[in-house]
Symmetry: D2
Subunit: 364 residues, 4 copies
């Protein structure tokens, strides 16, 4: 069998299943047979043509699978082992990686003085379904496999670990970047899958009061399962007012933005205490405005921190541990299941956010 099925970006508005060659395995690679993958909001941007990728590219960046073949230099794993790899698969050898920013792999200068990429690209570490073939396929080639394969414990189902490669890693880094201290008050704006994981992350870091904001009551229900103490439906209350009341005028210690809009960004800033941190996870498609009043004219000792999903096998190992020990249970986020063959239909459901969909398990 030398070909496989893969979900391929053809043109804006069109992702379809095609037959493709199963890739060759280089010395530093691993070939995975995908058992479960999923669709991300970014994939919908790709589908719509809002984020450009090369026509013919296989999309998807969240792999759970079985090692089919290991490159000759890759040690410590065996074929047949079930693994995941991060959505972001850094080489860990570049300047950016060694400088503490593996997700920005490729965004820095190479040794000979030229830039590693044509045009500046902050998301250099993201390769699957961006600059190399992705995971919505029967097989995927993992580059720099030594740095990126993370074995999955037999006791865990694919569904239990499906969030680790992207959603959980991203949501958690939102909490981590918020510099949460024991006893903090934290608010998370938007409770999609990433916001829900940020909510769980805030709980894990010791926040005493967690406020979740969304416009869908069903999601706010799940927020409570993830650790929210207070939920606010922005369609029903003035969120800024309510939070300032809840904190008796103090503001929150950290606010996490998990959507990528002016409104949520601005509200996140307005409820922040002097000295507080706005941890931003959203992908913004338009210029942002910082209102001078919300920013205390630049004198508020505020921090604004952005992040791209952390990857690598050590990050994955830690997230798998959190799942294994039951600290956080994200199965509630996998609301639907589709066959790879039916992925066009799955995209349609997900893009239109029908039927209470949060995440869809895709099975080749």
């Amino acid at each position: 069998m030398s070909t496989m099925k893969a979900a391929v970006f053809v043109a804006p508005g069109r992702i379809e299943i095609q037959e493709k060659r199963i890739p060759d395995v280089g010395p530093n690679d691993a070939l995975l047979r995908i058992t479960t993958t999923t669709i991300c909001g970014t994939d919908v941007h790709i589908l719509k043509g809002e984020y450009p990728v090369a026509p013919g590219l296989t999309v998807g960046h969240e792999p759970v699978g079985i090692i089919e073949k290991l490159g000759s230099n890759v040690t410590g794993y065996k074929e047949g082992q079930r693994v995941i790899a991060g959505a972001i698969c850094p080489s860990f050898t570049s300047y950016a990686c060694q400088d503490g920013f593996p997700s920005q792999d490729g965004g820095y200068l190479t040794a000979n003085g030229t830039c590693a990429c044509h045009g500046y690209k902050a998301t250099g570490g993201w390769r699957f379904g961006n600059i190399i073939d992705g995971t919505q396929a029967e097989y995927v080639l993992v580059p720099d496999a030594q740095a990126n394969l993370a074995p999955v414990h037999d006791a865990l189902t694919d569904e239990q670990v499906l969030m680790c490669p992207d959603i959980m890693s991203t949501g958690f880094v939102g909490a981590e970047n918020g510099n949460i201290k024991i006893g903090d008050t934290v608010v998370i704006f938007a409770q999609g899958p990433i916001g829900l994981c940020a909510t769980a992350g805030a709980k894990l870091r010791g926040a005493a009061t967690i406020i979740a904001v969304d416009g869908v009551d069903e999601r706010l229900e799940i927020s409570r399962q993830m650790g929210a103490d207070v939920t606010l439906n922005f369609k029903k209350v003035d969120v800024v007012d309510e939070i300032m009341k809840l904190t008796a005028g103090r503001g929150v210690d950290a606010s996490i933005e998990a959507l990528g809009t002016q409104t949520t960004f601005e509200q996140a800033l307005r409820v922040l205490k002097p000295g507080g941190t706005l941890s931003s996870l959203g992908v913004y498609s338009q210029d942002l405005t910082i209102p001078v009043s919300a920013f205390a004219a630049g004198l508020g000792d505020h921090k604004i921190v952005t992040a791209l999903c952390p990857g690598g096998k050590e990050r994955m190992r830690r997230l798998l541990k959190i799942v294994e020990t039951g600290r956080v249970n994200l199965e509630a986020l996998v609301t639907h299941e589709y066959k790879l063959d039916d992925i066009v239909e799955a995209y349609d459901l997900f893009a239109n956010q029908r039927d209470g969909v949060l995440k869809i398990a895709i099975k080749p």
Copy 2:
């Protein structure tokens, strides 16, 4: 002698010398006889009515003076001793202070559940010439003196330490917040007194390449004295292009904004590497725009950090040490001297930036 001369804000456009009562000394206060003070850009905003203070208030927030009288609870100092106090004089007892943000003293909730201030005020720790009488006078009352008086070594002149209370503390925190590591490339936008101190601060933290940006060549000359390796006059070159060339496309590790305008803020962001820190010192008078391209759509692992001048006697002790040991020499920044009686004239010179003025020593 129960009255003194003081520079008083009367109305927008009018600061004038008036006779005022010398204040009484409470148990936690100290009365200083001012020997030297100075005018700050913020005072010009007050003069112009752009930053509102109560009519009748004595302005100024940078004191060098002699302890005239100590409150009954203040120990470890003696009358006749020469001291400085920070422009920001925190109590160090409030929630904000104990939470790590003494400059934001007063900006947090009080114990009984109401806010410490009418309306949100991020600058709660700034009291001299803002909410209590300031230093452009023959005497000033220092509140919470135990926490704020810093003795000055006899070998130092008033001029040598005149920058410590505000300009040096602010400029240095710009470098400190930039999280500079040994070998970093750092750019500082605007080389007024604070930008020049930020330049000196970047050198102190171990930056290998320091780029100073301004539009006045005379200032850029002083930048070199403060440690700049490269100077760029924005009237002569495209600053962003030039910095990207200097860093071979990598961008800078930290950029420090020391003016408070959209242009400098935006350029500071555009030249930042993925993972870099924008340390903002400017006081912004208008809403800011973050261009989505400069912000890598929120995926660049960027940090934006703002600051209000750190105060307190420990901060002042450290800055005085830097002056004492000759690590940094800021005398070049004191370009003019005026008598307190002539302060109206001094304001006029300073507000109009005539005659190469950087800072003016005011002598009562």
Copy 3:
């Protein structure tokens, strides 16, 4: 009523109830009527003469009480309000406090160049029952009350908040100093009250695997309630071996020492991964040995961090929040109750660790 009952240190081996004058209230003080207090291991050291205090001093440092009288400078509280104060009551104005080490208040130089204390004293911030009269009495005077009083929510019982002033603050700082990251493996040596709180703290910070070590199975039962995933009785297993097996030879990310002996300190070091942190909470009465093998000859990127209980009203506010929101429930630690009049008996029980005692509520 001008006198009160107080537990007074008379001589080694003798703490007894005496009548004492109720203290006068200075401008920065508050007088509390104690409703509940407790006995600490340190008090037993004082009783035995192992830690010297002045004869005649009232012992105890963990106050829950009602504000009887406020000093004239103390604002934001009202008489009749129920409050706690930290075991450590820093002024927050000293050099050490402003330098980030309020617990070491008094341990640094004063402004006039002499040391704040006769002889070096690292525990400068600890005043109650150490250098001023303590809390095992009907009344206690809280110094620097503005910085130290923390109001207690009506819904909480004295017992629920009795651990906040010392045990909980100390245990939690053990976890905080361990620099725990999401997914870490953490071990806590000794499960007395402080070790149990460190266990709860490790859970709060996001550890995935928490190992608790003690020699008493009953305590290890409570460890599980506090969040331990694995418990090891050092009387039954080789602790170092077991932990290295549990971590597959990797070692733990952080180990917390909560006893103060050579054995626990050394084991804490032996199980530490290269790059790990040993967070020490114990009070050591003898010189410690660092075996060169456990220390990787000084090449292991190890950190050893010690701590003295953090105090102040902001710290107390955060701990009270954790209790209020039910994140941690420490009532199981209060195993006994005695009247102040019977405190000699309570000391006897506690010093001899009879009857499964963990902490004793003392009621005046």
Copy 4:
């Protein structure tokens, strides 16, 4: 030419020049033709048999050389280019590397659950002259070359960059781990090459007062060139007394141990302020004692931090920048030059510290 000369460890007491095969170049390797290398204190331990390596191993770990041949997977470099590589050459792909401790590469668990090394080894990242052939040879094979080769600017001599791979990186991390803040007082114990670099590092981080301690006045002279403000010869003064006087009883903010003995470690602790950091660089050959008095019984908020030399091309790039911009000039440390053929003689000079030797340039 298929053989080369190499300095080989034969048996304790015997390192000698032998002919060896020039190694083959694998896909991730680079072969360097050494132009300059040097002898380290660790090499003397190897020579004496105090640190065991396999007989037949080529010693040395500080390469300056020309790329002779690149592996097929290594990009961004070209043959003929002059480069250095760190003494520690991590893969950057292991768990330890991704966890923030690249110098401990190999010290953690592998993916399949077994330990990466037989027996615990904290120095897993150190390969040259430890577990693979080293640099005191005509050629050396650099593993994981993509992560470790750092190009050297044409304007710099070999001697100017010879300290970067080990001495400078180690000395600087001593200062970095000391968590030095602007205005700090820092003491460095021992002024051998590493201690001198730690002194330079303390200056680079903004210390206001730098105290250097050694027993050789000639070295203390060089300390002043490296930035020391005060030098103390321990043969002439009581070091602890003197430092406590210099700091008026406050103690130092950071003390750096750069020798590896009980005396220096203990003194470093005795002069430390409560809250201060002891940054240890020494390689200890015996158990250490922590005197309980110097340790404040574990209550002093002290930190003890150890380190192994950071490596990797990003670290090297930063150090090279510091040399290039003239921030630090370490040429004074290269006191002697020998041909590789005469290395036995060079070892003799260096091991016996004759003739004021600090570091020796070895030229194949």
